[in-house]
C-alpha cells in the first residue's frame, strides 16, 4: 500500500533552555504507518523533540502540525499521541490491568468495552493472565510490554518510544526489536522511536533521522545513511568508518595519500578539500603490488566472523579493515577497493544541497 499520508510535520522548531539551544531549526515530516527512528548521542535533543510532539513541552518557535492541524500550543492531554517513556513510568499504585485501562477510563468508555480492549491488548503483547499483578512484581521486559500496551490501547495515530529498549539486556532487546517491528506493521500505527544505538535504528527503521547538537544532520533510509553519510559526524556515528582528508581533483576523481583514485562522486568544485569515507568491510587485502594503498599492520583481533585489522599508511592515516583471513606479513600490505566503495563528503554541505547533488549525479554512474 503506497498510501503516503503525512501525519506529523515540524516546521522550523526551536527550543531553548535558558541560553542553551536544545532544538535548532528542526524540520521533518512523518508519513502514516511507517517506522521512524531518531538516532543521536546522549544530549543531542532526541527526548526534547519527542516532548514537543507529545506536548509535554511547547516549542519556543516554529510549528507542529498533526494531521494538517496546528497543535503547537495544544496541551499533552488533548493530543492524539501516546508515549512509551524512557524508564516506562508505569503507575506503581495500580496493577497491570488498571495501568493499561488508565487512558480508556479517562475517556469515559463503557466498562465492558474497557475490559475487552485491555484483555485484547494484553494478548497482543503476550501478557494475558497478568492483569492483577502489581508493577513491582514484573521483570524489566514485562514492564516494557505493559508500557507499550498502556500506550497502544488508546489507538494513537502516532506512538512515541523514548529509548524504550535501552534498559533491557542484549538478548531480550534483540527479541523486542523484532516484536516492536512486527507490532508496528500489524497495527499500522506510525512509530517514532528514539535511540542512541545505531544498530537498533538500522535494524528496525523505514527511515532514520540522525541528530547531533539539537540539529537533524541527515535523514533517509538506513541503507542511504550508511552508504552515503552527509558528514564526518554521521559517517562516524553510524557504523565504523575510515575517514581521511582528500582533494576532489575533478568529477569522479579524488586524491588522498598522494594518489588519485576513481570514485563515484561528482558535483564539487575542482580541487575542493573534502573528506573521503571508506567502510572497513569494503576493503580487500591483497599484495603490495596489486594494492591501491600500502599500509603497515599495527594489530589484529579475531572477532569470530572476521578479523579486525588496525593499520596505518605512510601519511599516518589509520585504516580499519574487516578481513576474512588473518595477515601473515605485517610490514607491507596492499589494500584494494572499488570506485563505488569510496564516498566523498564536502565540508558544511547542508542536507538539501547534498540530496540535490546526489540525485543529479547518481543517474550517470550506476552507483549501487
Amino acid at each position: 500500500m503506497a498510501k503516503t499520508e503525512t501525519i506529523l510535520e515540524l516546521q522550523h522548531v526551536y527550543k531553548y533552555f535558558d541560553d542553551f539551544t536544545a532544538l535548532d531549526d528542526i524540520n521533518f515530516t512523518l508519513d502514516q504507518g511507517k517506522f521512524y527512528s531518531f538516532l543521536g548521542p546522549s544530549g543531542s535533543g532526541k527526548t526534547t523533540i519527542l516532548r514537543t510532539v507529545s506536548g509535554l513541552i511547547l516549542a519556543d518557535k516554529g510549528k507542529v502540525l498533526f494531521d494538517g492541524q496546528d497543535i503547537t500550543n495544544l496541551p499533552a492531554e488533548k493530543r492524539k499521541v501516546n508515549t512509551v517513556f524512557q524508564n516506562y513510568a508505569l503507575f506503581p499504585h495500580l496493577n497491570v490491568f488498571d495501568n493499561v485501562a488508565f487512558g480508556l477510563r479517562l475517556k469515559k468508555m463503557a466498562k465492558s468495552e474497557i475490559d475487552d480492549r485491555v484483555v485484547a491488548v494484553l494478548k497482543v503483547i503476550q501478557m494475558d493472565g497478568y492483569e492483577n499483578r502489581m508493577i513491582s512484581e514484573l521483570s524489566g521486559g514485562q514492564q516494557q510490554r505493559v508500557a507499550i500496551a498502556r500506550a497502544i490501547v488508546n489507538e494513537p495515530r502516532l506512538l512515541l518510544l523514548d529509548e524504550s529498549l535501552s534498559a533491557l539486556d542484549q538478548k531480550l532487546r534483540q527479541q523486542m526489536q523484532y516484536e516492536l517491528r512486527s507490532l508496528q506493521q500489524r497495527l499500522g500505527i506510525t512509530f517514532l522511536f528514539v535511540t542512541h544505538d545505531q544498530e537498533e535504528a538500522l535494524a528496525m527503521s523505514d527511515e532514520i533521522l540522525v541528530m547531533n547538537d539539537g540539529k537533524i544532520q541527515q535523514s533517509g533510509t538506513p541503507v542511504d545513511i550508511y552508504d552515503e553519510p552527509i558528514n564526518h559526524f554521521v559517517a562516524n556515528f553510524i557504523g565504523a568508518s575510515n575517514i581521511v582528508p582528500g582533494v576532489m581533483v575533478r568529477d569522479y576523481e579524488v586524491a588522498f595519500v598522494g594518489k588519485t583514485f576513481e570514485c563515484a562522486d561528482a558535483g564539487m568544485r575542482p580541487n575542493e578539500k573534502v573528506e573521503v569515507v571508506l567502510r572497513p568491510e569494503d576493503i580487500d587485502v591483497t599484495t603490495p603490488e596489486q594494492g591501491k594503498l600500502v599500509v603497515n599492520v599495527d594489530s589484529q583481533l579475531f572477532r569470530g566472523d572476521h578479523f579486525e585489522i588496525n593499520s596505518h599508511d605512510e601519511d599516518g592515516n589509520q585504516w580499519l579493515i574487516y578481513a576474512t583471513n588473518s595477515i601473515e606479513d605485517k610490514d607491507k600490505v596492499g589494500l584494494s577497493f572499488t570506485p563505488n566503495a569510496l564516498h566523498v563528503m564536502r565540508f558544511n554541505e547542508d542536507e538539501a544541497d547534498f540530496d540535490a547533488r546526489l540525485s543529479q549525479y547518481e543517474e550517470g554512474d550506476n552507483a549501487d
Binding site: S54, G55, L56, P75, A76, E77, K78, V81, N82, T83, F85, Q86, N87, A89, L90, F91, P92, H93, L94, N95, F97, D98, A101, F102, G103, L106, K107, E131, N132, M134, S136, R150, A151, N154
Partner: protein, 276 residues
C-alpha cells in the same frame, strides 16, 4: 558466609543492647508502670474499680467521645491545610528554605506559642483590633471551641506537611508526564495519580497529628478555656489536682489502646492490591 554472619552479629550486639536498654527504660517501663498503677484505687488498694468507673460513667464516656471528635476535627483541618501546602511546596524553587520555615515554629516551646495566641485572640488583641477596624466589632475569640481547634491545628500542621511533602517529592515526574500523555488533565492527574501515590505520607501525617491530638491538655486549658474536657485534661486533673493516680493511669491505658487502634486502622499495606 558463616564467618560474615557471626562477625556482624557480634559487631551489632553493643548497638542492640543499647537500643533495648533505651526501649526498656523509656518505653516499656513507663507503660508497665501506668498499667500497674491503674489497678490501684485512691486508697492504695488493689482493685478493678477504676476500669469499672470508666466504663460505667457517662462523664468519662463523653470525654472519650469529645477527645475523638476534637482530634478528628483538628486532624481534618490540618490535613485540609497541609495537603495543598505540601503540594504547592514541591513546585517552588528554594524548597529547602521553605521547608525550614515550616519546621521553625516546632522549635518554639508550646507554652510560648499558646501565650502568643492568647495575646492575638484576646479582647484587645490584633484580631479583635482588625475586626473593630472593619466595623465588625470585638468578638469573644478566646476560650471557644473554634479557637481551640484553630490553634491545635496550627501547632500540628508541620507534622502533617512534612510526611506528605516527602511522599510528594518522591513521585517520579515521568509518572505525572505519563498521566498527561494518557489524557489526564491536572485535576485528574492529582486525583488518580498524585494523591494515591502520596497516601502513605497522608497516613503518617494523620497518625502524627491524630494521636497527640487525643491527649492535648495545655491548649484545651489555655485556649479552649477548659470548656472541652478531653482525656488529656482528665489525666492532668487526676494527677495534679485530685491526686487519683489510679484513675489517671486507667485513662492513660485507654489512650494507649486507642493509639494502637488508630495505628492499625491507618497502617494499610504498602502496596494495596487493587482489583480490576
Amino acid at each position: 558466609m558463616k564467618k560474615v554472619t557471626t562477625l556482624t552479629k557480634t559487631n551489632r550486639l553493643p548497638y542492640f543492647s543499647l537500643y533495648f536498654l533505651w526501649i526498656g527504660l523509656f518505653v516499656i517501663a513507663p507503660v508497665a508502670l501506668i498499667v500497674y498503677q491503674s489497678f490501684f484505687g485512691i486508697d492504695h488498694s488493689l482493685t478493678l474499680n477504676n476500669y469499672r468507673t470508666y466504663l460505667s460513667s457517662s462523664v468519662y464516656l463523653r470525654m472519650t467521645f469529645n477527645s475523638f471528635w476534637f482530634a478528628f476535627l483538628i486532624t481534618a483541618l490540618t490535613l485540609a491545610i497541609s495537603y495543598p501546602t505540601a503540594y504547592f511546596l514541591t513546585k517552588l524553587e528554594h524548597r529547602q528554605l521553605w521547608i525550614l520555615l515550616i519546621i521553625l515554629p516546632t522549635w518554639i516551646n508550646l507554652l510560648l506559642k499558646a501565650y502568643a495566641f492568647i495575646g492575638i485572640f484576646s479582647q484587645s488583641g490584633s484580631v479583635n483590633n482588625f475586626l473593630t477596624f472593619i466595623g465588625v466589632g470585638p468578638q469573644q475569640l478566646l476560650f471557644t471551641n473554634t479557637s481551640f481547634i484553630l490553634v491545635a491545628a496550627y501547632i500540628q500542621i508541620p507534622f502533617m506537611i512534612l510526611p506528605i511533602y516527602n511522599s510528594l517529592v518522591d513521585i517520579d515526574p515521568a509518572i505525572i508526564n505519563a498521566s498527561h500523555d494518557l489524557g489526564a488533565n491536572n485535576f485528574q492527574t492529582l486525583w488518580r495519580v498524585i494523591f494515591p501515590m502520596s497516601i502513605n505520607g497522608v497516613r503518617s501525617g494523620v497518625q502524627a497529628v491524630f494521636i497527640p491530638s487525643l491527649s492535648l491538655f495545655m491548649i484545651t486549658r489555655l485556649i479552649g478555656g477548659n470548656k472541652v474536657i478531653t482525656l488529656g485534661t482528665a489525666i492532668e486533673e487526676h494527677f495534679m489536682t485530685t491526686m487519683n493516680w489510679g484513675m489517671g493511669s486507667t485513662i492513660g491505658v485507654v489512650l494507649i489502646i486507642i493509639m494502637f487502634i488508630t495505628m492499625a486502622l491507618t497502617a494499610g499495606g504498602r502496596k494495596g492490591k487493587a482489583k480490576s
